[in-house]
Symmetry: C2
Subunit: 231 residues, 2 copies
Amino acid sequence: MNQLEKYEDSIGYSFRDRSLLVRALTHRSAGAPHNERLEFLGDAVLELVISGFLFDRFGNVDEGDLSRMRSTLVRETTLAEIAHSFSLGDYLNMGPGEQRSGGFRRDSILADAVEATIGAIYLDTGEQLETVRDLLGKWFSERLKTIRPGIGQKDPKTRLQEYLQAREFHVPVYAVVDVSGQQNSQVFKVSCSVEPLSQIVFGTGTSKRRAEQDAAEHVLEILRKSNGNRK
Amino acid sequence: MNQLEKYEDSIGYSFRDRSLLVRALTHRSAGAPHNERLEFLGDAVLELVISGFLFDRFGNVDEGDLSRMRSTLVRETTLAEIAHSFSLGDYLNMGPGEQRSGGFRRDSILADAVEATIGAIYLDTGEQLETVRDLLGKWFSERLKTIRPGIGQKDPKTRLQEYLQAREFHVPVYAVVDVSGQQNSQVFKVSCSVEPLSQIVFGTGTSKRRAEQDAAEHVLEILRKSNGNRK
């Protein structure tokens, strides 16, 4: 089996149009045609198929819990785990720079390639959902079995802490810098500083905890973007 | 024609299962079963179908421009316009409180009901995309004809200003409250105060403009949430 066949074997799908698969596995650092357009499409396919699974499976769960479960299932770390289960990093086409800097191990790049793969399968099957639905049912089967409303979705502070620990940085430092507003409509402002960012990031909320979660969310966003820019 | 038939007539689809349509048109203020779960599903259907339209139509446009065009097409104000073209407000089931407070005119409620309608059609057609694709092609035909990469997507400051003006509030007030960081990695912190919010909201960015956009985005988010809570 060649490389592409090995990857097809591990994802459980053989492409009619191999050029779609090649593109899905091509990071922009390797030049065009790369996988970013397929990622755009695949991201939306993934969202809908997972939404459908959750909608059908949890008939009495409200929209808020469905959304939280969906973000747990489609977020970068989950997709990177799935990428690892396919050894996706072994099949990625990247520029020499990314190769050296270990881009094939970076969560964001792996997660993007999983979404691009989904987009490629969707196109290869004539923009129908059946095949993608079957495949994602397998890829996510364990997670779909175990996910429950109200659990599984980690809050921003937890995700930030895990992000930093995974990269051997210190834990974030939070501090209340301002409390304003009337007694029953107080607004807390919290600063959050983390090792990899030179800037201090702020969050606001109607409680100290909410303000910290808000700040953590912003930090995660900034870290995501700076990862993106490093592409 | 009864009310439901009139609505079916204006959206161009007749339901096999009318109870899905009734639910799609039932705001939570009217009690369960309401349309929030259908909205969760319909939102994802809409994202994918619009993504597919843009992907197919703009073969050489990069993922960033595709995303910007998609957010222009699926954002609340666009969906509210589509709702008005269906006179959706006339068919909404709402609690007496919402009726009196004019909820049937509120963009967020109208946009949610459009997404719920899309979710209902998707379920009514056996979770296939063909019918929804045809319908959305009609609903969005003018917008799909005129949208172009790099235009159409309004930035947060513009959207915030329009949001406030539409509700006859004063324009937002921005002020730089902090500049930190090294010369070539400066971080600006900007405050934004708007009439309908008691709190001052902050934004950060590597330029004054970016920080203002960030602050405006947060304000829009808070306003969206508080609209949600008022439901």
